[in-house]
Symmetry: D2
Subunit: 437 residues, 4 copies
């Protein structure tokens, strides 16, 4: 990291409705994390959003009275050049692609979700060529910078960069923090007093322990969770986990585990939703439109409360805290997607895991993971191999790898794999250069 | 092995309709495998079958003019005492239990099959207490004898004995041999000229290579298989595997892989069959009745051809060849269920795998397995952990382990696990002492 | 841990000359670590030392004006009962045994050292029966207490407790801290600003990284170390490490690595020393006599400066900081001996490693270790297997395991193993109940 | 393998005094292994030997009356082109280099031996550039041929080819066969009736089991071996292994284990020998001279008996049997050096091990190895890492890797490593292009 007067950060997908979150995050931490230049980058199709949200960002910074320059640009290379941190929050194909990720699998009676199952694979296939381009730019223009990836499926995207480039990369997700906040709520405790042991893959992460004043309260948390009185993330429907199930699982499942542990219920709910209020993507599309209307208001000089309905709570906390821990060499614990390197013995060394890790200027060191119980190990392993195959399919345009990935994925009905995959490729072909040759 | 004039073999479940197969096997090999005493053991409920098939056995031996005594007994301990080999082909709860294993899961829209999925677990839970009793008898009465297990789910039962007793045990299944014969047919070659590399778990085994005169023909075999012109075992319905699927899989799937790779098609076919001709168990029940009618015929002095429709082809070849290879210290290759011990690196050392192994007097040494590709590894790992959990449930009556086992099993809809499991336990409670306390 | 008004600590081997160190440590930290009762335990032969040092301890506490009761006792069980922490700093056979550990191997032209090689094994064999007795007392009288072991060979003793008892145990050594201080000195930096990555076994630990403000300075440290201008621990002679050697090693060796990397030089130096000033044990015996003379002085109310010559610098810091981190659930990094559990992939899961670990009320979680380079891996693995064999010999009195342990140990000439071992057993037979049967 | 009328074999180092062995082997097996063209290749300095031994070879073939053409050539590429098998038995630097390998280490009080320790590393460093050249020729001119390597250190050379080229390679050594013959002699049994379980590295291989009629006689063999009445290879001096040592080792050590288990005795014996009859290399030089005198005799038309004193018994049996097993797709067991691929779990997958393996046209499949006991594991691991480092040094001219390799090698005194290594490099510099830049 070049030691300059201040930090340069490039945010790819800067026109996102989430951007005020991260702006707020940088403003709040400006003392310890002096971001001098923030480049918000987007593509031509997103220029109108970039303008709106970028101007809000400028007003927020001005209101805060701090020394941070906001640059709006469509020139990614200009933004990346000499950056200290590059954050990614772009969505290839915009919300329409997400809606397709949700709707196509439903036609085959499979879970339609943009980060996991068939929809998650579609998103991965679209995103992989772009993230590799970004990493290539970084290798040339900012080889020592950190890539902090938020783009979903965050684990797969991070693993792709880790396997195929030389860039320093960490993946982030707000799910562990959301789980931690919920656990604190259940225990009626301050989240800061809680130390959680997370292990798994992105969107397939378990809370193995919840230490409150050094005592592991996980069994108590699971019992309370079984009452159904607590909810976690906004954009995943609620279901009660049975007490027997949770206690024999022995760990806190993440919200996305619902898709695995309650597959048919979730599928029925998705089918219902698609018929009525629309898929989550369709709902978000409406929310986004309203948000951008709000953002246009020249009098708005702070993150509007309405953004919270959008999902992605604690997003800015996760990202800014992580960046600050690296920049300030803090040696604090964060929940990140990081190369396994043997931390989880039953997964390959080059897989990327989601894990409580020590963060410092030299990056992330995962805490070692004691051998996992079979119920967690089995599911973790099969989904990890799905991810491995998806990355091969995404990087090399390997159709067979994609077939096999969907075949072993627990959320895809094996009988429909070929038809479903062909449908996904056809509908996304403009975003799939690796298959378009 | 005590060196006596001849061998003593005890066959638990001797009243099975399969018994003429194994009798024929021992007769054919009498020169190299001099079985002097064969104890056919059954329980009170099976006495009528034992009498019928036992008398046929006696006639077969007499006709062959060899020196082998057939003993029919309900006293298992008498049969086991000082035996050299104990073979198990019993079915706890008889065919009615099998029919339940097929029908209960169907009510929850899950595959109903007696060796895999929810039905396989039910069979495992019923069988584990009995096999442990048998092994306990062996530890006392024939501690150096070999237990050759055919009772399904053969891998799980073998692993239970391997983990919880000191008995020498190998598990057997005719599936690899059936696959080998089919491969020979596809290649228009003599099966003896073929050397196959099998790896996996029982009923989840892949043919990784098919060496004909030293050349690996597996890709050619997969292409031919994709034409749909070949069929394998009788008791699994036929489907065409797609060419893309097979070539990207890169290995020959076993017949039971249909349940995993074509889940919904198989489920629909099972539902149809249950409505019309009945489940496989119901069909077999009819076949068995006819067989026993045949067996009663005092003029019948050899294995009747009709037995072949029953399934279980090559069963006696597999068993007798294995026993002879041990007895004669042959050092030949066989396909057996054996403790992994690191042969498959991505599975625990104490799991039992199905693998091409060198068989000699000292038992089975699996050929080492090169690292497996992700599509095979992922499915193998999750099913292996299901098996681990099932054994814990079966041995300790651990309800939570059973919940988790079904939850991660690819053939069980996760939303129905608790109801399905409670139904299985209730309907099988007389055979589940470990849960009946 | 029972929540009482204050903590109860039992120190086994309380008559040690080191005791004023730990007393000072508890006094300094009394605010954050309110030790209410400190039991100093010793055996009959050590009573005179216990009285002298115990009375000094009482004067130190009185002088400090804190509320801590010092109890002197020969009744170990009274001391352990309901203790929160048990620390062990005893030496079975006292300094005379140490001197034997140094002198016997020298007669066979082997390194004579009380913690490694043949001498280390002798000490392990004497200590293992005693530590198992202590652990048994703890299982009965203080099952939730933490055993903080300082008794050498600290890694082997900790591993014995970890493998054969249910007690919470961590091993400690001042070597990593000494290395850290030396590194800080080399870098002309504040040790608090340094974050070191230690990995290995006790007395065979490497500093893999030295992060100063987040930058890894290890290569710079190795170059400086090669100048020979820096020394580390008092009780290990000094030698210059060659620059090529250190840079190709790529890690900071610990002082005891001299025995491995400069075996013959160290052996010659030991032989010289034995002839002249005496072995280290003999020198220490003299130092101890003087120390106890000093301790007798009723006017002495603090740790005398002369204790520093004794070795064991930072001993109290390591122990008290660790205990405080557990008690206060700090979540800070410490260098401890802890069950591997997969942190170092190339060692067995049940081995005890020395590793930078996160310490909290629930114990130690090692940071995961990236795959090690061959030069470190090879030496680490062979010494680890020596330790495994030594523990088997120590626990079960397995003579063959002892033979094999010495045979593979890099510091023992293989041709002399049997004679050397017989000599060790004969001379130590009163302390080796496991071989005395 | 191109299917021609007959086989083409190229023997690199064809001027070796061993060549009559392999000629005899091919003659004896001509029916099953129809070698049509045998190219004996050597370099300019060896031309006079090639001529002598080559003419003997021609006379042997003529005498046998078989259809095999012997070609003598200095053109390696002509010999390799379209070959089916390439065998290597060359010695870079001839016997003078061997004598240096024996004598240089002795000057530093270290074992001097041409296949292990410092001498073995010297030989590896000289050989690696040449074997890589040969493999490069094969990749171009005979990409499907098998390289059967006899050149020592056979394991390291085989591993180099396995790691750095695409050539099919197996390493061979006569040590396991010698051990098997000795075991048969001890048991007063026919070697053909024996099935041995060998595992380890080349010249560091253990006999884990010796099955005679299916019974493991290893304990009996060890007891007999301890009597000192049996000897194994000619070129390794004899010592009695102690009974306690052998029984606690639990496996049959190989002759070269003497260097590890009786280091000082062997060193003293080497020093004595060097003073008196000369090192083994010097003795062999004399033997070779006599052999070539013999070979010149135009009346000699068969392998002379005197060759047996040269060492290398069963060399031709090992090589020709292996080649025939591949050519004829036999599926028989042989003892070869082969890529580990997980067969030995405690070694890296890409290491080459020496192991009982199934040999067929597709190559070698090692039998899986049950977890090894610590005494074997520890030594195996450290020597394996020495090999890994040596290969890096040999391929890349990495001086630091060579320093570290010698440092961890059990047969090298660590204090002398740098001086010894510099001496080796200086004296061998003409054969070390990788260090000569
Ligand atoms: Mn996420
Ligand atoms: Mn079967
Ligand atoms: Mn220490
Ligand atoms: Mn050799």
């Amino acid at each position: 990291m070049v030691d300059k007067k201040g930090l340069k950060v490039a945010t790819i997908g800067g026109g996102s409705s989430y951007t005020p979150e991260i702006i707020e995050g940088f403003i709040k931490r400006h003392d310890e994390l002096p971001v001098k230049e923030l480049y918000l980058v987007d593509i031509e199709e997103g220029k109108w959003k970039l303008d709106i949200v970028g101007n809000l960002a400028k007003r927020m910074v001005e209101e805060a009275g701090i020394d941070m320059e906001i640059h709006l640009t469509l020139d990614r290379r200009e933004a990346i050049k000499d950056a200290d941190f590059v954050t990614t929050q772009f969505r290839v194909g915009l919300l329409d692609a997400r809606i397709r990720d949700e709707k196509i699998p439903l036609q085959y009676d499979c879970i339609g979700q943009e980060t996991t199952g068939a929809g998650g694979m579609a998103k991965a296939l679209r995103t992989i060529p772009v993230i590799l381009d970004i990493a290539k730019d970084m290798e040339e223009l900012a080889p020592d910078a950190w890539l902090i990836n938020f783009t979903n499926p965050s684990g797969i995207i991070t693993e792709t960069v880790s396997k195929y480039t030389d860039i320093n990369v960490l993946g982030l997700c707000n799910v562990p923090i959301v789980m931690e906040k919920m656990t604190a709520e259940i225990l009626d405790a301050d989240a800061d007093k809680l130390r959680m042991d997370f292990v798994g893959l992105n969107h397939l992460v378990w809370g193995r322990a919840a230490y409150l004043n050094g005592e592991n309260k996980i069994s108590e948390v699971l019992d309370e969770l079984a009452t159904g009185n607590f909810k976690d993330v906004e954009n995943v429907p609620d279901y009660e986990w049975g007490k027997e199930f949770l206690q024999s699982l022995g760990m806190l499942p993440c919200p996305y585990h619902r898709y695995y542990y309650l597959t048919d219920l979730m599928l029925q709910e998705e089918i219902e939703a698609a018929k009525n209020e629309g898929t989550r993507g369709e709902v978000v599309k409406g929310l986004e439109a309203s948000l951008f209307e709000l953002y246009k208001n020249e009098d708005l000089k702070e993150k509007p409360e309405e953004l919270e309905e959008r999902g992605g709570q604690y997003y800015s906390d996760a990202a800014c805290d992580l960046i600050s821990a690296i920049y300030n060499d803090k040696g604090t614990l964060h929940y990140v997607n990081v190369k396994n390197n043997g931390a989880v013995n039953c997964l390959p060394e080059d897989s990327v895991i989601e894990r409580t890790s020590l963060i410092a200027k030299n990056g992330a060191t995962p805490l070692n993971v004691d051998p996992l119980p079979p119920q967690v190990k089995g599911l973790l392993q099969v989904v990890n191999e799905y991810e491995t195959l998806t990355i091969e399919a995404g990087v090399h345009g390997d159709y067979g790898a994609a077939v096999q990935a969907l075949t072993i994925h627990p959320l895809v009905e094996s009988s429909v794999v070929k038809d479903l995959l062909d449908d996904i490729i056809e509908k996304n072909i403009n975003y799939l250069p690796q298959f378009n040759k």
